[in-house]
Amino acid sequence: MSKALFEYVLRLGDDSLILGQRLSEWCGHGPILEEDIATTNIALDLIGQATTLLEYAAHLEGKKRSADELAFLRIDREYKNLLLVEQENGDFGKTIMRQFLFDAYRKLLFEKLLSSSDEHLAAIAEKSLKETKYHLKHSSEWVIRLGDGTEESHERVQDSLNELWRYTGELFFEDEVDTELKGSGVIPDVSDIQDKWNELVMNVLAEATLTIPNDNWQFDGGRVGKHSEHLGYLLSVMQYMQRAYPNMEW
């Protein structure tokens, strides 16, 4: 079981890490100073979650790799994050939409993980849930503001929704890792989350006067390390120091 759990925790850790890395690209470039602060704050929470999750993954793996080694020294195919979180920032609206679709999933997932049979995972979920609720509040409010703001903002954020929607199916991806962990009560049944996610997302999008695209083609692959081209560039920036100066402490 610990192999499946390692894989699962790695997936969650990579989601936080890669999205935190993406958000941190905004630092200093936000549309208003208040949003610069908010975005950086969310990035900071996500890097904090990534640290806790990857530390746990490293422990489960039992190969004496550190959280930093997991974060900075794997190759592209070994990252297990969702395709959604590695997508480029685009404009502020796209960043917000990506964040909203993810936050909604993350909040529901952490709520369920509170009762995980794995105590450590439950404790991480409890700590992360608080932050995630705030992230979701922030991203939902902005989706509504932008969707129901001006004609331009509506159009921009609708385009982003159309573009990102095809990465949302993967939020509910399941393979043998999930099956095994579900059996032992470590993780919830994903269909449970999916229904609630649909409801939550539909409500916010309705208030934002936005609509789900007709084209419902869905991609997956992130969970098994088959990524979009964007991830390679993100990693080459993120890993630069560790690759250029191997085996040093910072």
Binding site: C27, G30, I37, N41, D91, M238, E249
Partner: protein
Amino acid sequence: MKEIDLAELERDFQAKIDADIKIEPKDWMPDEYRKTLIRQISQHAHSEVVGMLPEGNWITRAPSLRRKAVLLAKVQDEAGHGLYLYSATETLGADREQTIDDLHSGKAKYSSIFNYPTLTWADMGAIGWLVDGAAIMNQVPLCRCSYGPYARAMVRVCKEESFHQRQGFEIMSKLANGTPQQKEMAQDALNRFWWPALMMFGPNDAESKHTAQSMKWKIKRHTNDELRQQFIDISVPQAKLIGLSIPDPDLKFNEKTGHYESGEINWDEFWQVVEGNGPCNKDRVDTRRRAKENGQWVREAANAYAEKRRIRKKAS
């Protein structure tokens, strides 16, 4: 207003300052005092915000999870400082939008140190240690500034600055005690940032045109050269402690005065950077301007939405 009244108001104003009574936004103050403060606080605010960029440049490349988190937190603090300070300028009647546009048009200045590029990870250490260190020297006396809102903003800011300075010094000492390659990186960063850090205190006292009046108004408590000396006296032993050398062949300790004496600052370079010819002046201002332009539609949307809500609320 009759001339006699004005003279009396000015006398009362100066009496308050002399008695260390804080001036508050609604109090009468001379136009020049107001103007001086608006100029100084807005320059300070711009420095905080432009100052996010050289360090922001390394967040995505930070070498460990912990360093990434600390750097994010630090740069986020600087954004917060910018906010408090823009608010302080507003208490003096300045318009935030206009203040920011003055930065983007090149009319307003900000600290020249941020016009130098950050070339390696060690620059995160050098900036925290020296640049935030110099900022603390400048800002601690401002906690007692005669203008209440500025003084109170500085109290909050200074608390965070000392964390910034410590994390920078910690990065530096880790590198200086690391591999030869890391130590070289640290020394190189010190070589590049030492002199610009000394320039942060502004021109020599003889050249500084605002000092005398600002001291009389207790906006300023020490001269540029006094603060610079204090900074040198503190920083030189710190460099020694971690085994780095100060890039100044003329630096020597004067036993009699108990102070370090440093070589001559390259003031041509200082004025060139002030005039806009530093390596990054254009990049920094362009980046801030672009952030504002790219955010235009977002701000418009937020306003439009707020207006719609107001109308809906009224109708219901």
